[in-house]
């Protein structure tokens, strides 16, 4: 006659583990959103510091972006892309990739192109790497905020699980 092994409480443990996994994903998403927000804010600040020149003449073969170009970048502001889940990983990006088009000198120009020409420079415009600079500046701040967010979110979640 086969022995019967009976363990009580497995259902509750399984439920708690499911909730833990669910909570970890939510905590990670919340932290990522927090970090991306800090990054986007820093990029906006960086865009505000773009040097401009109202007249489009070149000096030593170089010119600065016009105030209109800066205004387009400021209005577009850096957006946070839709979160991408791949197994246990969640990622997103902050930038101007989907910023669309803007009218510049009577033409529709892709905003990412304007941002790239300011950020990376051209043969006739010196680079002002405000996006890279903002990312480097915001990274430690964003990481700290993300860790704090995860810790708080998991703390709350573990307390809820303990009630099961």
């Amino acid at each position: 006659m086969p022995y019967e092994l009976k363990v009580d409480g497995m259902k509750e443990i399984s439920e708690a583990l499911d909730k833990l996994a669910d909570g970890a994903t939510k905590a990670a998403s919340a932290a990522l959103y927090e970090g991306a927000g800090i990054m986007a804010d820093e990029i906006r600040k960086g865009a505000d510091s773009i040097r401009t020149e109202p007249f489009q003449y070149t000096m030593n073969g170089k010119r600065l972006p016009s105030p209109e170009e800066k205004e387009i970048v400021m209005k577009a502001s850096a957006g946070i892309a839709k979160f991408n889940k791949n197994g246990t990983e969640i990622d997103t990006s902050v930038g101007f990739r989907n910023a669309g088009y803007a009218e510049l000198a009577g033409k529709q120009v892709p905003i990412p192109l304007i941002v790239n020409s300011i950020n990376s420079g051209t043969s006739f415009m010196p680079k002002q790497p405000f996006v890279r600079q903002a990312a480097a500046k915001a990274a430690p701040k964003a990481m700290k905020a993300m860790i704090e967010k995860i810790e708080t979110a998991l703390d709350v979640h573990l307390k809820e699980i303990n009630k099961i």
Partner: protein
């Protein structure tokens, strides 16, 4: 921290030397130390920029670590960069294997120049 700066300085020096040395197609790339000053008329030219220094700052206003970021821009009328691309990549890899990437590659319609931008960052 000092190591990051040494690597950075060596790389910048090597990139500048590269643009002034013997070229594969007898094209010399003029180097602009300050990108405001020059608009070279060569068919291909390179610009070395020491972009910025970044680092996390502790509460007592002391930097925890430091990162030096720079970029190398190649402008060329030739679609393949007139042979300069492998030389630039080799120089970047020699001095810091994993610290660089091709950040941007665009075609300037107004000037008919192809523009490559490599960024590099050394951290301490």
């Amino acid at each position: 921290m000092a190591e990051a700066q040494t690597t950075y300085d060596s790389l910048v020096a090597a990139l500048k030397a590269l643009t002034q040395g013997e070229s594969p197609n007898t094209v010399t790339l003029p180097v602009a130390e300050n990108i405001w000053l020059t608009r070279p008329d060569a068919e291909s030219y390179g610009v070395v920029s020491q972009d910025f220094e970044a680092g996390a700052i502790r509460a007592e206003n002391v930097k925890q670590d430091e990162a030096f970021e720079g970029s190398f821009d190649l402008f060329s009328l030739a679609k393949d960069g007139a042979g300069w691309i492998p030389l630039i990549r080799n120089t970047l890899t020699t001095y810091c294997g994993g610290c660089w990437s091709l950040n941007s590659h665009v075609y300037e319609r107004d000037t008919r120049l192809f523009h490559w931008e490599w960024t590099f960052q050394t951290e301490g």
